[in-house]
C-alpha cells in the first residue's frame, strides 16, 4: 500500500460516535460508585474563619485539605493552586471541599447546609487595578538589536494599544473524572489531554510511588487547551476522596460549574510603540504585553512566553524591546486555550500594522507584505527562520481566491474586506521538547503493530492520523495498526497533547520507529521499537536570555474575511472567510479541513460574539444562555486551501496545524470591520454596542 498521505481516509472513531456507542466518562458504570460535588468559594478574596458542617449521614463524607496525603497543591508549571482551599480563598468558584456519597440528592442537600464563615479582604478585580498595584506573577523582558538607537533615529513614532477579552472553551463534554483504588494502586479515569500531567500531579498530591498510579484517558469530548492542566485538579480531588472512602468516586461538572471555575483564555492588553524610518518601514517596536492570569499563576508563564515570542508575527522587525507580564487578579485562573497566548499578541500586531498602513495611506496588505520574514531572517528572539517561507505564494493565492484587491477598492459603506497574515510556532516553546523528552513505542506482534503514545484523541483526529503515519510508512493496512489505550500503565510518555505537537513531533517519532520496524520486519514475529525525542543540533535556545530558536519551525497562513455591518443596528455578519495555509505536507486533507474550519469558527467567536466579563470578581456570563458561541447560523462559508511546503523533520513533511487557524481569523475580521467603518478596531470582542459608539464618533 503506497498512497498519497494527503488523501483522506475515514476516521477510525467516527462510526461508534455516530451510533452513540462511544462512552465518555459520565457514561461509564462503576460498582459502588460515589458521587462528588464541590463546595466553592462565594468570595473573591477572603480568609476562611470557619466551616460549619451539618450532621453527615452514614456513607457520606466531607473531603478537604486535611485528607490530602501529599502536597495540597496542583502540580503544573507553577504549582500554586491548592487542591482544596487552605486558610483563604482567592477567587469566586475556588474549591474548598467535596461532599461525597452514593445519592446525588443527599450530596446536594448536605452541600446546601454547609456554612462557611469568611473574613472578606479587598480583592484585585481588574487588569488595570492589578497593574496599578504591581500585582505581577511573571515579568519577562527581551531585546533584539538596538532598540534605543532605533527609537532615537526614528523618522516617525507611532503608539497604539489593544485589548482582548476572556474566552471559555465550551468543549461540548464538561469536565469529569473518576478514581478508584484496586489494591494499593490508584486508577484515575477521565476527560483530558495530558494523562502524564495528571499522573505527575497525582504522585505529588497522593504521595504514591510511580508504579502505584495509573491514569486512563476516556474518550474526550473536546478540549482545546481547557483539558490541559485543569483536569489534574479534579483528578487529585477525586483521588483523595477515593482514598478516604475506599470506593470509586466520580465527579462530573455541569455546564454552569464548568464555566464558573475552569480556566479561560487570558484577557490581555498590549501596548505598542513603533519606530518608522524615512521609507515608512517599521524598524523598531517596543511592546508591552499584559495578561490577566487570575488568582493563581499555574500554566500562565508558558502562555505568556508563547505570547511574547509570537509578537512580531510574520514580520521582520530589526530592533525590539519586549516586556511581558502576567498579573494576579482575584478571578478564575486563566490557562491554556488553543493558540496559547499567541492569538492575543498576533491580533495586536496585525492591527497595529493595519492601523499604521491606514494612517500612511498605504494599502494594508501591501504594507504588511513589505515587512515579511524570509528564509534565514532572524526571528524576534534572534533565532533563524530555517525553512523556506512561502508567504508570497500564500498571498497570491488568497488574494485571488477572495478577489481581495478588487473588493478593497470598491466596497460600499458598511461592507468590508480584511486580511490577516500569521504564523504559529510548531511544538513546545524553547527547550520544552528536550525537557519532556517524549518517547513512543511500536510493538509488532505477528502481522499487527500496536502504537503506544500518550497523545490522546480528543476530537482532533490524532488516533487516525498517527495510525495513518505508521501504516503508510510500514506500507501495511490501517486495520493492522492498533492504537493502544491511553493508559499511563501501558504507554510511554510521549508528552502532553498540546502545542500542535502531536502530528509533527509524536508523529515524527512514530515515523522514525516505523522506518526501523520496516527494515527489521522479517527479523522476528514479535519485537518492539522505541524512540525518544532528539533535538536537532542546529536549534539553539537560551532559556535565561530568551535568545535563539523559540520554535524549530513555523506553520504559516493568511485569511481574508468579508463582512457586512447593519447600518441601523450595527450587527455584524461575516459573509465569507478564506484561508490558505502552509502546514508542511497535509496529512489527511479532510481531517485538516475540519481543524481549519473549527479553528476559524472559534476564532470568529472570540472576535465577535463571545462576551465574558466580570463584575466584582464574579463572572457576568455564567451559562450558555448568556455566553454565546457560534451556531450553524453564525458561521460563514469557508474556502480553505493548502500549499505544500515539506518540512524535513516532520512525518511525510508535516508541520503543526491545530492552533494555526484560530490565530488568523480574529485579525482578518477586525481588519474587515475597520475597512467597513473606516475606524480602528483595537478591541475584541467586536460587539455591535461598541461599533455603534465608534461609528458615531467623529
Amino acid at each position: 500500500m503506497k498512497e498519497n498521505i494527503s488523501q483522506s481516509i475515514p476516521r477510525s472513531d467516527a462510526k461508534a460516535k455516530l451510533r452513540g456507542e462511544t462512552k465518555y466518562i459520565a457514561d461509564i458504570p462503576f460498582d459502588k460508585l460515589l458521587y462528588a460535588k464541590t463546595l466553592r468559594s462565594t468570595k473573591a478574596k477572603a480568609k476562611i474563619r470557619s466551616i460549619l458542617l451539618p450532621k453527615i449521614p452514614d456513607g457520606y463524607f466531607v473531603i478537604d485539605q486535611h485528607d490530602v496525603p501529599g502536597k495540597n497543591r496542583m502540580r503544573t508549571v507553577v504549582s500554586d493552586h491548592p487542591i482544596f482551599a487552605q486558610d483563604d480563598v482567592q477567587y469566586i468558584g475556588q474549591p474548598i471541599l467535596l461532599v461525597v456519597g452514593e445519592d446525588r440528592e443527599t450530596v446536594y442537600n448536605i452541600l446546601a447546609q454547609i456554612q462557611v464563615e469568611y473574613e472578606e479582604e479587598r480583592p484585585l478585580l481588574t487588569l488595570e487595578e492589578a497593574e496599578n498595584s504591581s500585582a505581577v506573577f511573571t515579568d519577562y523582558h527581551y531585546d533584539k538589536g538596538n532598540p534605543c538607537a532605533a527609537f532615537q533615529n526614528a523618522k516617525t513614532l507611532i503608539e497604539d494599544e489593544f485589548a482582548t477579552g476572556y474566552q471559555e472553551h465550551v468543549y461540548l463534554e464538561p469536565n469529569g473524572m473518576a478514581a478508584e483504588f484496586k489494591g494499593d494502586t490508584l486508577f484515575v479515569y477521565g476527560s483530558m489531554q495530558c494523562p502524564f500531567y495528571a499522573k505527575g500531579a497525582l504522585l505529588e498530591t497522593m504521595d504514591l510511588a510511580d508504579d502505584k498510579v495509573r491514569v486512563i484517558q476516556t474518550t474526550t469530548g473536546g478540549a482545546f487547551g481547557g483539558k490541559e492542566e485543569f483536569p489534574s485538579l479534579i483528578a487529585c480531588q477525586v483521588a483523595v476522596a477515593s482514598l478516604k472512602t475506599q470506593k470509586p468516586v466520580m465527579m462530573i461538572y455541569d455546564r454552569m460549574e464548568d464555566i464558573l471555575c475552569s480556566t479561560k483564555r487570558h484577557p490581555s492588553k498590549i501596548r505598542y510603540k513603533a519606530a518608522l524610518d524615512e521609507n515608512q518601514q517599521i524598524v523598531a517596536l517596543d511592546i508591552d504585553v499584559l495578561f490577566n492570569a487570575g488568582a493563581y499563576n499555574g500554566l500562565s508563564p508558558v502562555v505568556l512566553q508563547r505570547g511574547i515570542f509570537s509578537v512580531t508575527n510574520v514580520y521582520h522587525i530589526p530592533h525590539l524591546r519586549v516586556h511581558g507580564r502576567n498579573f494576579m487578579t482575584n478571578s478564575v485562573p486563566s490557562g491554556a486555550y488553543r493558540g496559547f497566548g499567541a492569538p492575543q499578541t498576533i491580533f495586536g500586531t496585525e492591527m497595529m500594522l493595519y492601523n499604521i498602513a491606514v494612517k500612511l495611506g498605504i494599502e494594508p496588505l501591501d504594507y504588511k507584505a513589505r515587512h515579511l520574514l524570509k528564509r534565514n531572517d532572524p526571528t524576534c528572539t534572534g533565532g533563524r527562520i530555517h525553512d523556506e517561507v512561502k508567504m508570497f505564494e500564500i498571498l497570491e493565492k488568497i488574494t485571488q481566491m477572495s478577489g481581495y484587491y478588487e473588493k478593497i477598492k470598491h466596497s460600499p459603506k458598511y461592507h468590508g474586506i480584511g486580511a490577516s497574515l500569521f504564523l504559529h510556532g510548531c511544538g513546545f516553546t524553547g527547550k520544552g521538547e528536550t525537557v519532556i523528552n517524549g518517547a513512543i513505542q511500536l510493538t509488532k506482534k505477528n502481522q499487527e503493530v500496536t502504537l503506544k503514545v500518550s497523545s490522546v484523541e480528543m476530537g482532533q483526529g490524532a488516533e487516525t492520523v498517527l495510525r495513518k503515519i505508521v501504516a503508510y510508512t510500514l506500507e501495511i493496512q490501517m486495520e493492522q495498526i492498533i492504537f493502544e489505550k491511553t493508559d499511563t500503565g501501558l504507554v510511554p510518555d510521549s508528552g502532553p497533547t498540546v502545542a500542535s505537537r502531536t502530528t509533527m513531533i509524536v508523529g515524527g517519532l512514530l515515523q522514525q520507529a516505523a522506518l526501523e520496524m520496516k527494515e527489521r520486519w522479517h527479523e522476528a514475529e514479535s519485537f518492539e521499537v522505541t524512540r525518544r525525542y532528539n533535538h536537532p543540533d542546529f536549534l539553539h535556545w537560551d532559556d535565561q536570555k530568551f535568545h535563539g530558536d523559540a520554535y524549530p519551525v513555523y506553520s504559516w497562513g493568511a485569511n481574508v474575511a468579508e463582512i457586512e455591518i447593519d447600518p441601523v443596528t450595527y450587527e455584524l455578519t461575516i459573509k465569507n472567510l478564506y484561508g490558505v495555509y502552509d502546514v508542511g505536507v497535509p496529512i489527511d486533507l479532510r481531517s485538516l479541513e475540519g481543524q481549519m474550519q473549527g479553528g476559524i469558527a472559534q476564532g470568529i467567536g472570540w472576535a465577535t460574539i463571545e462576551v465574558m466579563e466580570t463584575s466584582q470578581g464574579r463572572l457576568i456570563q455564567t451559562n450558555l444562555t448568556n455566553y454565546k458561541i457560534p451556531t450553524a447560523m453564525d458561521v460563514p462559508e469557508m474556502e480553505i486551501e493548502f500549499i505544500s511546503n515539506p518540512y524535513e523533520f516532520g512525518p511525510f513533511g508535516a508541520k503543526c496545524a491545530g492552533e494555526l487557524p484560530f490565530v488568523g481569523a480574529p485579525p482578518a475580521v477586525a481588519a474587515a470591520v475597520s475597512h467597513a467603518l473606516k475606524k480602528p478596531i483595537n478591541h475584541l470582542p467586536i460587539r455591535p454596542e461598541k461599533l455603534m459608539e465608534i461609528d458615531n464618533e467623529n
Binding site: L18, G20, E21, Y24, L172, A223, T631, V635
Partner: protein, 156 residues
C-alpha cells in the same frame, strides 16, 4: 407518579418523580447513554431525542409530561435506513470530531428531514441551530446532511 409511555417502541410503566428530567430517566434508569448532558438548559442539543417524531431537548422535558408519548433515542434510530444514510453522509463529510454533540446532531437531522425532506442550506442551518458543536465549525456537518439527503433520497 405512575407513567406509561413508549420507549424505543416498547411500552413501559414506571413510577417516577414528575419533575425528573427525561434526560436522567433515559441515561440513569434505562442506560441509554447516546443521550448526553452538555448544558442542562436546552442550549446545546446534545440530549435531543424524538418525542412523537419531533426533536426535543430531553433536559427540558419533565417525566410528568411524557404520558402516552413515543420516545425514540439513537439506540433505536440507528437500526433504520435513514440512520444509515445520515451515518454515511456524516462520515464522508468529516462531520464527526470529538463526537459528544454527534448523537444530538443525528437526531436533529432526522427531525429536520422528516419535516422537510428537501431543505435549502439556510433551512439546514436553521434546523440545526439548537445544536452546538465546538470542533467542526458546522460547515462539514451541513455538508454531511446534504450528503445524507442524496444517499437517502426517497427515505424521508
Amino acid at each position: 407518579m405512575k407513567i406509561e409511555f413508549y420507549l424505543n417502541n416498547d411500552p413501559h410503566e414506571i413510577e417516577v418523580d414528575p419533575a425528573y428530567r427525561l434526560l436522567d430517566l433515559l441515561r440513569e434508569d434505562f442506560g441509554l447513554t447516546s443521550v448526553k448532558e452538555g448544558c442542562g438548559e436546552g442550549e446545546c442539543g446534545a440530549c435531543i431525542v424524538l418525542m412523537n417524531g419531533l426533536a426535543v431537548n430531553s433536559c427540558l422535558v419533565p417525566c410528568g409530561s411524557i404520558l402516552g408519548k413515543h420516545i425514540i433515542t439513537l439506540e433505536e434510530f440507528r437500526k433504520t435506513d435513514r440512520y444509515e444514510a445520515i451515518e454515511k453522509g456524516f462520515m464522508d463529510a468529516g462531520a464527526v470530531q470529538c463526537g459528544f454533540c454527534t448523537p444530538g446532531f443525528v437526531m436533529a437531522t432526522e427531525s429536520l428531514l422528516n419535516q422537510n425532506p428537501d431543505p435549502t442550506d439556510e433551512e439546514i442551518r436553521e434546523g440545526l441551530s439548537g445544536n452546538l458543536c465546538r470542533c467542526t465549525g458546522y460547515n462539514l456537518i451541513i455538508k454531511g446532511v446534504k450528503l445524507a439527503m442524496e444517499k437517502g433520497a426517497g427515505l424521508w
